[in-house]
Every structure is written in structure tokens, then in C-alpha cells.
């Protein structure tokens, strides 16, 4: 099967700046990739490129079967991106935001409820306008959007930043569930010890390309067949 993400010496520009200077990456569906590296290494740009938001100017880039050098808009409807700034409307409540996103993606708004509950957005939180929520709570709403939309490719840009321990545990579960459901997950972070256990592949970026590659804890677990306790069912 063709990989969900196939990048080969991909160069992508953010404005006139080569944010990616030749990245190689191959990830199958059901895989979790942790993206590490210092600030400015190109982590966010890698995620945005996979979302079809940055133009790939050279190299190969095929995401979910769409060649990004030909058309980078088709891939967008199948991608869920959680960036530093959550894509939410401040004046709408958590529930309204999730319902809007779900209906925009062409799904039934019935999918919003379970997602809101899964993220613990019930009662008052559900009815508060997002502008009045804390950063961590906003992150939860944005995650609820992802859960409800269930895209084929999850792009999480430093999702752990600013989350408390409980939310981090929940995030780990969501990532594992998404991957078990056949989605591909890219997860950027500054904290190797947090994301490596969740990931099949770990790539360390520097200067807009891959400086180091290693296996993550999830693959090790899967290969020994002890996915128990992390909620991971082996899909390989």
C-alpha cells in the first residue's frame, strides 16, 4: 500500500524562506510520527506542508494520495491540523465551534456530542464562549473538533504545551485511538520523553530537514505484542 505521507527531499517555502530544506518522511496509515527539534527547525512547517498550506517547490510530496506539487487544496479536507493558535471562533461556544467544524466537513452534527464528552467539555464549559476559556481548555475544544471530524491525517503541533497531566494522558489515548483507527498522526514536541512512547517513528529536525531518525516506543511495544495498557490494538 502506498504510504499515507511520502516526502522525498521536499523543499517548502514560507514566504521567501525555505522552511523545509529537503525533508524525507514516509509514514503509513495507522502510524504515529513524533517530530522533535529546536525552535525554527521546521517542525511547524512540516506539519503545515502536510496539510497543504505551504507550497512544495521541489522534491516529491504525496499526502493521502494527493500530489502536493500538483494540487495542495484537495488534501485539506482530509486533514486535521491543531496549531499553536486553535482554529476557533471566540464568540461561539465550545459546542457551537465543534458543530460548525463538523458540519463544514460534511458530517452529521450528531458526531459533535460524543467528542465533546470525550474531552470533558460538559456542563458550563460546553456553554461558555471560547474566548473566555483558558488556553488549555481551548486546546481541548480544538481536540474535540479533531475527534469529531476524525480526519485521515492528524497534524498536532506541540499539543502537549500547556496541558495538565490529566489532559496529557487523554491526549495520548486519543492519539493511540486515532492511529488504531487507521489514521496517521504527526506529533511535534519539545519533550522527547513525552512523545517518544506514543510514536512509531521519531524524527529530529534541524535546519529544515531530518537530522536524526529513530524508532519510537509504540513500535517497540507493538513488535513485542504488549500493546496492553496503552489502549493500542495492533493494526499491523
Amino acid at each position: 500500500m502506498a504510504p499515507a505521507i511520502h516526502l522525498r527531499t521536499a523543499v517548502a517555502l514560507a514566504g521567501r524562506f525555505p522552511a523545509l530544506s529537503g525533508v524525507d518522511l514516509s509514514a503509513d496509515s495507522g502510524e504515529v510520527v513524533a517530530v522533535l527539534g529546536p525552535n525554527g527547525a521546521g517542525k511547524t512547517s512540516l506539519l503545515r506542508t502536510c496539510a497543504g498550506l505551504l507550497a512544495v517547490t521541489s522534491g516529491e510530496a504525496v499526502v493521502l494520495g494527493h500530489d502536493l506539487r500538483v494540487d495542495c487544496s484537495e488534501v485539506r479536507r482530509h486533514v486535521g491540523l491543531l496549531g499553536h493558535a486553535a482554529p476557533l471562533y471566540d464568540e461561539l461556544t465550545a459546542a457551537e465551534n465543534v458543530r460548525f467544524a463538523v458540519r463544514a466537513a460534511g458530517c452529521s452534527s450528531a458526531r459533535a456530542e460524543p467528542a465533546l464528552e470525550r474531552l470533558g467539555l460538559v456542563g458550563r464549559l460546553r456553554r461558555t464562549t471560547v474566548g473566555r476559556l483558558s488556553a488549555g481548555q481551548r486546546r481541548r475544544v480544538a481536540l474535540a473538533v479533531l475527534v469529531a471530524r476524525a480526519p485521515a491525517l492528524w497534524l498536532l503541533d506541540e499539543p502537549h504545551a500547556g496541558l495538565d497531566a490529566g489532559a496529557r494522558r487523554l491526549l495520548g489515548e486519543l492519539v493511540a485511538e486515532a492511529a488504531a483507527g487507521g489514521a496517521t498522526v504527526l506529533l511535534s514536541s519539545h519533550e522527547p520523553e513525552v512523545v517518544e512512547p506514543l510514536a512509531d517513528q521519531v524524527m529530529v529536525m534541524a535546519g529544515g530537514r531530518v537530522a536524526e531518525w529513530r524508532r519510537g516506543g509504540r513500535r517497540a511495544l507493538r513488535s513485542i505484542g504488549t500493546g496492553v495498557g496503552t489502549g493500542v490494538t495492533d493494526v499491523a
Binding site: L53, S73, G83, H84, P87, A104, T129
Partner: protein, 222 residues
Amino acid sequence: MWRDALLVAGKDLRIELRSRVALWQVLPFAVLALVLFAFALGPSPVAMRRAAPGLFWLAVLFSTVLATQRSFAVEAGEGTRDGLRLSGLDPAGIFLGKAAAVFVQLAALELVLWAGVTLLFGVRIHATWLAVIACLLATVGLSSAGVVYGALSAGLRVRETLLPLLVLPILAPVLLAGSRAWSAAIDGAVSSGVGWLRILAPFAVAYLAVGVALYGPLQEAG
């Protein structure tokens, strides 16, 4: 496309209902503009009555710039802009939805301004239907052209200064035809008024079509 348009329009109007920016900022600005125009003209009732249609449409024009700026300010957070592009919404649907939301707000604003020119300038309109049709056609044109240019300048750092420069010359025919049609409505000169509707209608149709056709590339370029 229509479903997406409804969804976006509903979302924009709901945001406006919550934030009340159009109600508490754009509308007072438009009324204030009327009052300032009156100061500039001097206290002669005759001069005011003659100038009233033009002033009404000038106020509407400036409010269009503000309303479209606001329409894209709610998408201004980097996250939301990407969100709209990643949402899976049809670009033509986004355009129609945003234009519809701006249309509703401008139409409400025109009602208030209408009352304003009646009270402040002592204007009596003889052919009311003519004035209403002129308002409807002009507002379709204003909101669609406004949204097209709003999208064009949305992502730019210089949008506040660039948008008026780009959009006001485009809207000039609406100002011209709208105020002439209103003059005709005030005088009861129906035939010349209907003639001006023939400028407003193609303008509205042209910019609706342009928006539906070009919003996709526009969104990419913003």
C-alpha cells in the same frame, strides 16, 4: 455550495449577535457620518435635502468597508484562517455565506440610515418602492464586491489601509447610481430612477458571479 453558504452565514451572523460590533460600532459610525455631513453642508434645509441621497450612500459605502473588514477580522486569527481553508467548505459557499451575512447587516444599517435622513434632513420619498429596490440591488453589489476585496486583503499586514483604496473606486458606480436613483425616488421621477437600477443590477450580478468564480484562487492568495 448552498448548504455551506447557509452554514457560514449563520456562523457570521451568530458571531455578530454575540459581539455586536456592527450594532455598536459600525452603525453609530454611519449615523455620525450623516451628522458630520450635515455640519459640513451648513444649516440650510434646502441644501441638505438636495445632498441627502448622496450622503446616505456615502455613509453606506464607508460602512461597507468597515463591515467587510469586520467580516474577515473574525477569521483573522492565524488558526481560524487556516481553519477555513482546512474546513472542507466549498469556496463559493464561503463567499456566498459571508456576502449574505454582510448583506443582512448592511440592509439593517440602511433602514436606520433611512430613518436618519428622514429625521435629520427632512427627506420625503415619493416612490418608496424605487428606493427599496435600489437599496436591495445596491446592497447585493456592495456586499459581494466588499467580500471579494475583503478576502483579497485579509491576510495582509497593510489591510486596513489597502482595502479602502482597492474597494472604494470599484464601488463608485454604486454610489453614483444609488444616489441618483434615490434622488429620482424623492422627486417621484420614476422613469429616470428605473434607468439607474439598470446600472445597479448588472453590478450586483457581475460581482456575485466574480465572487463565486474567483473565491477559490482568492483564498489561496490571501
